[in-house]
C-alpha cells in the first residue's frame, strides 16, 4: 500500500482544494429479501474532513448503521448490493478488491460499536486483541505490537496499562471496555473513526468521560469522526455537522448550530420537539404521530408525509422529493421548507 500508516499523526489543516477525507456519493444499499431485493439506504451523499465530526442521526430503521457498515465495507457480499461511491482520501472503496479493502479499512478506518463487551473476544486478554490488530495491519513483531497495545491503553486513560493489558474483557467495566475498543480502533492511527452509538449503553457520567476522551483524541490524531447516534444531546456536544436520516435517505444536512436553532425539515423539528431535555418540565411532550415505516414499506412522495403535520395533499404525497440546497452547508428534503417556520432550540432554556 502506498499510504504510510505508521507516520506520525499530523495536525495538518485541510488544504483548500484537497479532496475531503471521506466522500460518500450516491450510496445505495439493497438487501436480499425473499426472491427480490429491498432497498435500505437510498442515494446517500455527504463529505467529512479531517479533524471534524459528522453526526449521523436517525431512529431505528433509518439506515444510519447500514450506511456506516457500507462505508466500512462490512456488509455481507452475497446478500447485499452496494452501489455508488465511497472515497477515502480520494481512493474508491466500493470497487476495491477484497484483500486491498481489508488492508485499507483495518488501517485507515477504525470502528467502535454500541456494545463493547460483545465486540471483544472473551477468551483473549485485551492486550492480545489490540496487539493482534497492530501485527496484522502494521506488520509489527510480537514484542513491538504488545508495546504498542500497552501504549494505546495508556492513551485511552486505562490506569496501570502494562498490567491491565494482561486482563480479560470480563475484568473491565462497560465504560472501560469501550475505551479498550477505542484503543484497538486507533492502534493503527487511522484517519477516520466510525463510532456507532458508542455511548448509548453507558451510564451518563461514564458517557461524559468517553465523549471528552474522543474529543481529545480527535485533536491529537486529527481524526475525522463519523458519529452515529439517535441522541440529539450527544450530537450538540460532539458534532460539527449533522446529517439526519429518515427511511433510508438523508432528509436534512447542516452545521450543528444551524440545525438545532433553525431546522428546515419537519422531521428534524419533530425530533427536537420529542426530546425531553429541550422542554424542561411540561404537561405534555410534543411528539411525532405514528412510527417509523418499515423497510420496503416507505410511503410514496415524501417518505415523512404520513407523519408530518405540515404535509399538503397533492404536493407531498405524489413525487419523490429532492435534497435541495438551502444556505451555506445546508440541504433539506422538503418541498415546503422555504415557507415553513419550524421551531428550533434557543441557546438558553
Amino acid at each position: 500500500m502506498a499510504v504510510d500508516a505508521t507516520a506520525a499523526p499530523g495536525g495538518a489543516p485541510n488544504v483548500p482544494g484537497r479532496a475531503p477525507l471521506l466522500e460518500v456519493d450516491g450510496l445505495t444499499v439493497e438487501f436480499r429479501s425473499g426472491a427480490g431485493r429491498v432497498r435500505v439506504v437510498d442515494d446517500v451523499r455527504f463529505t467529512l474532513d479531517r479533524g471534524r465530526t459528522l453526526g449521523l442521526v436517525g431512529e431505528s430503521g433509518s439506515g444510519k448503521t447500514v450506511t456506516s457498515l457500507a462505508v466500512m465495507g462490512l456488509l455481507p457480499p452475497r446478500s447485499s448490493w452496494v452501489e455508488g461511491s465511497v472515497r477515502l482520501d480520494g481512493q474508491e472503496l466500493v470497487d476495491a478488491a477484497g484483500a486491498e479493502l481489508t488492508d485499507l479499512r483495518g488501517r485507515d478506518i477504525g470502528m467502535i460499536f454500541q456494545e463493547p463487551r460483545r465486540s471483544l473476544n472473551p477468551a483473549f486478554t485485551v492486550g492480545e486483541q489490540i496487539a493482534e490488530i497492530a501485527r496484522r495491519h502494521l506488520g509489527l513483531s510480537r514484542k513491538d505490537a504488545w508495546d504498542r497495545a500497552v501504549e494505546m491503553l495508556d492513551t485511552v486513560n486505562i490506569a496501570d496499562a502494562a498490567r491491565r493489558a494482561r486482563h480479560y474483557p470480563h475484568e473491565f467495566s462497560g465504560g472501560m471496555c469501550q475505551r479498550v475498543m477505542l484503543a484497538g480502533a486507533l492502534v493503527c492511527r487511522p484517519k477516520l473513526l466510525i463510532a456507532d452509538e458508542p455511548t448509548t449503553a453507558l451510564d451518563v457520567t461514564v458517557q461524559a468521560r468517553m465523549l471528552r476522551l474522543m474529543n481529545e483524541l480527535q485533536a491529537e490524531f486529527d481524526l475525522g469522526i463519523l458519529f452515529i447516534t439517535h441522541d440529539l444531546g450527544v450530537v450538540a456536544e460532539m458534532a460539527d455537522d449533522v446529517a439526519v436520516m429518515y427511511a433510508g435517505e438523508l432528509v436534512e444536512q447542516a452545521p450543528v448550530d444551524d440545525l438545532l436553532s433553525r431546522p428546515e425539515h419537519p422531521y428534524t423539528a419533530g425530533l427536537l420537539g420529542s426530546s425531553p431535555d429541550v422542554q424542561g418540565h411540561v404537561e405534555r411532550l410534543r411528539s411525532i404521530p405514528g412510527s417509523v415505516p418499515a423497510v420496503g414499506a416507505w410511503p410514496a412522495g415524501c417518505r415523512f408525509h404520513t407523519r408530518c403535520e405540515h404535509a399538503r395533499p397533492g404536493t407531498c404525497d405524489t413525487d419523490p422529493v429532492a435534497l435541495a440546497d438551502g444556505g451555506p452547508g445546508r440541504r433539506a428534503r422538503c418541498v415546503r421548507s422555504g415557507e415553513l417556520h419550524l421551531e428550533g432550540v434557543g441557546v438558553d432554556a
Partner: protein
C-alpha cells in the same frame, strides 16, 4: 385489606421507610452465603395520590430493586412499605394478591414481559378474569375499551405480540396494567427501548391517564432529562441510597449533593453553541487531563474494577 377510600388524601398512597435488601453474591460448596452485597441501603420516600416520583440513578444504584421491593416481587430484609394504608410486608399471600390489583408494573422490554404465545386480547383479559371475574362478552368489550384507551384498534386483540412494534406493544402492556384499575403503576424504564419519536407518545399517554384517573407513578429511569420532564418529585440513588430528592426543577437547577452535581453536569445538552471549535479542542487537548475521579463501583457487579488482590 383495609378500605382504601377511608384513608383519604391526607395519607400518602405509598410510604416507604428504611427499606433494605442485600443479595448473596457468593456461596460456598454447601450453598451457604459467604458474601453479600447491599443493593438497597435504607431507602425512604412517600408518594402522594396522583403524583409521579422519579427515581434516577446509574447501573447498579438499586433503583429497579426498590421498584420490585415495593410490590413485594422481591422480599425486603428490613423496612416498611405502606400502600393504600396497608402494611405490604405483613400481608398474607391472599391479601397481597388483592392489594396487587391496585398496584401494577410496566417493564422496559414489552417483548420480554408479555407472553409471546398469548393473543393480546388474552394478555389484557387475564387480569380482568382474575381480579374482576369478568367473562365472555363483557370481558371482550372491556378489552376493546382498554385497547381504545391506549390508542390501539380493536383488531389488536386477535394478534400476537411479535406482530407489533415496541411502541405499540408498550401500549398493550399499559392496557394490561390498567385492566385491574390500579392506583399505582411502577414504571421501570418504560420507554428506554423505544425510538425518540415514539417515547414522547408513550409518555404523553401515561400523563393523560394520570390526569384522567388520578394514577400515581413510581417512575424508574436512568435518563435524567426524561425524569425531569415527567416527574413531580425526583429522588437520586447511588450505591443503594437516596442521596438527594426534591422537586425536579429544584434538584436539576440547584443540585446540592456532589453525586447529583456530577450527574447533572454529565447530561448532554441539546442546544446550539455546545460544540467547541476545532482550534479550541486542539488547545484543550494539549493541556494534560485532570486525574479521573475514582471509578464508581457498581453495587451489584461481577466486575473486578481495581486490583484483584
Amino acid at each position: 385489606m383495609p378500605e382504601t377510600t377511608d384513608t383519604g388524601p391526607a395519607e400518602p398512597l405509598l410510604e416507604v421507610t428504611d427499606l433494605r435488601k442485600s443479595f448473596v453474591t457468593k456461596r460456598d460448596v454447601f450453598g451457604r452465603a459467604v458474601a453479600r452485597e447491599d443493593a438497597v441501603r435504607g431507602v425512604s420516600f412517600t408518594l402522594p395520590h396522583g403524583r409521579t416520583l422519579g427515581i434516577v440513578g446509574e447501573t447498579g444504584a438499586g433503583k429497579s430493586t426498590v421498584g420490585r421491593l415495593v410490590l413485594r416481587l422481591a422480599e425486603p430484609d428490613a423496612g416498611s412499605v405502606r400502600l393504600l394504608g396497608a402494611d405490604v410486608l405483613s400481608l398474607s399471600r391472599r391479601d397481597l394478591r388483592r392489594l396487587r390489583r391496585r398496584a401494577q408494573m410496566i417493564f422496559q422490554d414489552p417483548f420480554a414481559s408479555l407472553d409471546p404465545r398469548m393473543l393480546v386480547g388474552q394478555t389484557i383479559g387475564e387480569p380482568l378474569l382474575l381480579h374482576a371475574g369478568l367473562k365472555g362478552a363483557a370481558r371482550t368489550a372491556r378489552v376493546v375499551e382498554l385497547l381504545g384507551r391506549v390508542g390501539l384498534p380493536a383488531g389488536t386483540a386477535d394478534r400476537y405480540p411479535h406482530e407489533f412494534s415496541g411502541g405499540q406493544l408498550q401500549r398493550v402492556a399499559i392496557a394490561r396494567a390498567l385492566a385491574s384499575e390500579p392506583d399505582l403503576i411502577v414504571c421501570d424504564e418504560p420507554v428506554a427501548a423505544l425510538d425518540v419519536s415514539v417515547q414522547a407518545q408513550v409518555l404523553n399517554l401515561l400523563l393523560d391517564l394520570q390526569a384522567e384517573r388520578g394514577l400515581s407513578y413510581l417512575f424508574i429511569s436512568h435518563d435524567l432529562s426524561l425524569v425531569r420532564s415527567f416527574a413531580h418529585e425526583v429522588a437520586v440513588m447511588n450505591h443503594g441510597e437516596i442521596v438527594e430528592s426534591g422537586p425536579g426543577s429544584e434538584l436539576f437547577g440547584h443540585p446540592q449533593h456532589p453525586y447529583t452535581k456530577e450527574l447533572v453536569s454529565a447530561i448532554p445538552v441539546t442546544r446550539p453553541g455546545r460544540r467547541r471549535s476545532a482550534a479550541v479542542r486542539r488547545a484543550a487537548a494539549s493541556i494534560p487531563a485532570a486525574p479521573e475521579p475514582p471509578v464508581v463501583r457498581p453495587v451489584l457487579s461481577h466486575v473486578l474494577e481495581g486490583d484483584p488482590s
